[in-house]
Symmetry: C2
Subunit: 511 residues, 2 copies
């Protein structure tokens, strides 16, 4: 009965983390302004109780008994795997001193306020002392967790287990080598016309169309809902309730369309985790104390990017759906063709802001952040030298002069909220998405054919089998190994970018 | 430091109960259908953890120390009062065996399903065995809690502390004696025309107008929001976030208008609890494990009924606001006067359904339920004889023949959800509202004058001082004693009903 006692405790922890996510969702979509005064207490209490429960004497005792009970099982047995995962989470939390967590939380509160002010006033100097404290604290944190080669390794493992500073540097070198020549060729070519994307698009019509697209690709509204937020996100409170948000710009159509497909991709992942895993260790991040069923941040991003880009920004998608889009916005899209629309929404334009970047320059924004984080953590870059290093990287990768720190080093909220080590997920998601799609197209021609004809159910079925249903049961590379025969590999992504942008920009194929 | 340790524990319990309320609100307004599969677990976990925390060894130890620490303080000292209230809650929970709670929860799950089916099929016999079990279980529950005179006393004390079977029987005798002759006189008189209330009223316009009224009487939208539900309710997650819901019938205007004023009245109570009481024992019901700041269900109902009826259904209110309502619905209300509208929304029509009852017959529905509950609990009425007793009471009080049990004994959800003892709150609310209003009008002419001129801030200020700000710090009768010089007294309510309906129905004043 001790295995059952242990899983009961983990079910309770799941409930607490899911409840915390409901309160967070509510605070970003529904809560009246005045509610913020006490909502913070409520969310904090749920997180603290989840952690207390996880490391309590009761849970540890149940763990010991469950370990003994399952010791004779095969190492791949789900029960033994669950016990091992719970044991690892408990061991992790046992390593983190409570006072370190307290200092982290305290610093975050101040640092975020100062960062928002510093960004508004374009004044890195104001934020600099807080970033110095953040980096110092993250080093302490890394020391507490432990690592083999580099302090960054301890942090990145929280978001992307298996990756290290060294592995990311290796991956990034290949990506830069592949993307840079393509980017230069694209920049030398003529841009497709895209002015029409800035016409009038009534919000209600954007919403209806985005929702129709989300449903088409397989996001289940019976277990989901779409709301409006300034910063779109996806959140789940078990696979039975997986919500997404988006934003609508009246005078620019792409964010609602592709943002909704992106978040729906995240949502499809969560909605298709095996129901057997609900309220188990494989349905929640016990290290980060966050209710998420995807196995890593990169794996999650692979599903959102896959639906946003490989499906949503593909020529085939608009060949099928553009006439319906045009019927929705007959004036704004008068005279535009599916081809013209597809080229316009894939227009490449290097810029300063990560979240506005196109598919070809996006990874440059990620790689520079990860590289700077690694150097800050190892001490080879001082916080005071960070803005200059940032400007140099943007100049080198995108050929742009950063005009001020608000459009440079101060643009992201991550560091001010005490998050260091998470950025690589976006690029890993891009790489993983392409790797999965390449395998699907070569191994499953019938799935590819259905997808090309606008029937997205077989694709979802294939992704569910390969990725979604496993929740956090297997690592990202285990999933990739099983599905594609190899761990993470940047080659399919570079192939994809080359084929796509050579077509859109009408470039000659490389010799 | 043990007083602080104790209040920390109670703050945590508050956070858990507030979080449970957020999840409940969400489940009734926002949650996709599929979410119900796991939402129940989440809410149950939060409630169980709240209770565990309350009766844990840590909390008990902190209580003992806090009792010692505060023993020398004056009995009215807020700290000592808080410690006493926490001690009483812990003592209460210690009396309830866990297996009894478990059986109660299990029975509720089945009983509600059976009740819904029985009501749809108008078949009391189907529900009868579950009601028998419910009454048996409620008797066990009453025995566990303990009582002096009557098992019903243990139950009513959970909702309306201070009331007993005997006190309610006494109150009801006076109310029947006062209301029955008036009701007969009204029934003999000519009904005011009210057909126009059944014209077309677009939902969006109803919502805007209802929201405007709620704001006018003092419901603060910066700490609130209004949503749509089938069964309207109010819920708070601290005074900083107090939400209400309403319903809209396209072809009948009153429910949205008066329902919104009703729920806004509840909301105004919660929004005006002293901020010092936030997250304390005086901001939550530790016995019922429900986050509510009002001191009793009846006191809460007094505020909703006050704003719905004494303000919203008064002639003065429509003299001020009818022209604006008419401008909102110019076609439906063409040719109607403020007087005609006021008379129409106060039309008396005895009926079978409690929630559709007018102000004059509403208490009849309540009194018969309470009287039947008392007899069921003492065993002087068997469950199998309940439908007949119900029919007899409706016949005696309202002169109607109940056509079927769906419009009789099966109409309310309360008993199927294991709630016995709560019904009197509605009538006590009516009585308390009139008592407060009578005192306000006699003692505070400047508040009365402002109210009559459509400035509702002074009224809210007076009610906040007399009732709202105290949260659960003082009993209902203590509040009434301080504000009106006496405990609950039905005379002002009977005076109010007589004056109101004699005016509307143009009856002669009694000799």
């Amino acid at each position: 009965m001790s295995y059952a006692a242990l899983t009961d405790e983990i079910a309770t922890v799941n409930d607490l983390l899911n409840a915390a996510s409901v309160l967070t969702w509510d605070s970003r979509t529904m809560m009246p302004q005045g509610g913020s005064a006490t909502r913070g207490n409520q969310i904090a209490t749920l997180m603290v109780l989840a952690q207390e429960r996880l490391v309590s004497g009761n849970t540890r005792k149940a763990l010991e008994k469950a370990e003994a009970e399952t010791a004779s099982l095969d190492s791949e047995d789900p029960k033994r795997a669950a016990v091992a995962a719970i044991g690892a989470a408990i061991a992790y939390h046992a390593k983190i001193p409570a006072e370190l967590l307290r200092r982290k939380a305290e610093l975050r509160t101040t640092a975020q306020t100062v960062w928002a002010k510093a960004r508004a006033e374009k004044d890195f100097g104001m934020f600099s002392p807080y970033l110095e404290q953040t980096i110092a604290l993250q080093r302490e944190f890394a020391e507490a967790i432990g690592y083999a080669a580099h302090p960054y390794d301890a942090l990145v493992a929280l978001y992307e287990p298996g990756e290290t500073a060294a592995s990311l540097r290796g991956l990034f070198a290949k990506l830069r080598e592949g993307i840079q020549p393509l980017l230069r060729a694209v920049q030398a070519a003529e841009d497709p016309p895209s002015e029409f994307l800035h016409r009038e698009f009534p919000e209600e019509l954007q919403r209806d169309f985005a929702l129709k697209l989300a449903g088409k690709i397989g996001y289940d509204m019976n277990r989901g809902r779409l709301d409006k937020t300034v910063h779109p996100f996806e959140v789940s409170f078990t696979r039975n309730d997986v919500r997404i948000t988006t934003k609508y710009l009246r005078d620019y159509l792409p964010p609602a369309l592709f943002g909704t497909l992106h978040e729906a991709g995240h949502g499809i992942y969560e909605q298709n985790v095996d129901p057997e895993l609900t309220r188990t260790v494989f349905a929640t991040d016990l290290l980060g104390l966050y209710a998420v069923g995807g196995t890593s941040y990169g794996a999650h991003e692979s599903q959102s990017r896959l639906y946003e880009n490989h499906i949503g920004r593909s020529r085939g998608f608009w060949d099928l759906h553009f006439s319906s889009l045009q019927a929705t916005f007959p004036e704004a899209l008068a005279g535009i063709t599916a081809e013209g629309f597809h080229r316009a929404v894939n227009r490449v334009r290097p810029g300063f802001i990560r979240i506005e970047a196109d598919e070809l320059t996006y990874d440059m924004h990620i790689m520079l952040r990860v590289e700077l984080e690694i150097r800050l953590m190892e001490g080879s870059l001082a916080v005071r030298d960070l803005p200059e290093a940032w400007r140099a990287a943007i100049k080198a990768d995108l050929g742009l002069e950063v005009p001020d720190d608000a459009r440079g080093v101060l643009q992201d909220i991550h560091w001010s909220s005490g998050t260091v080590g998470s950025f690589s997920a976006y690029t890993i998601g891009n790489v993983m998405a392409a790797q999965l799609m390449q395998t699907m197209r070569s191994d499953k021609p019938e799935v590819a054919a259905a997808t090309d004809q606008g029937d997205y159910a077989p694709l979802r079925g294939w992704l569910t089998e390969a990725v979604h249903r496993h929740g956090r049961r297997h690592s990202r590379d285990t999933l990739l190994q099983r599905a594609t025969g190899r761990p993470l590999d940047p080659a399919p992504y570079l192939d994809y970018l080359n084929a796509k942008y050579r077509d859109i920009y009408r470039l000659p194929l490389p010799a």
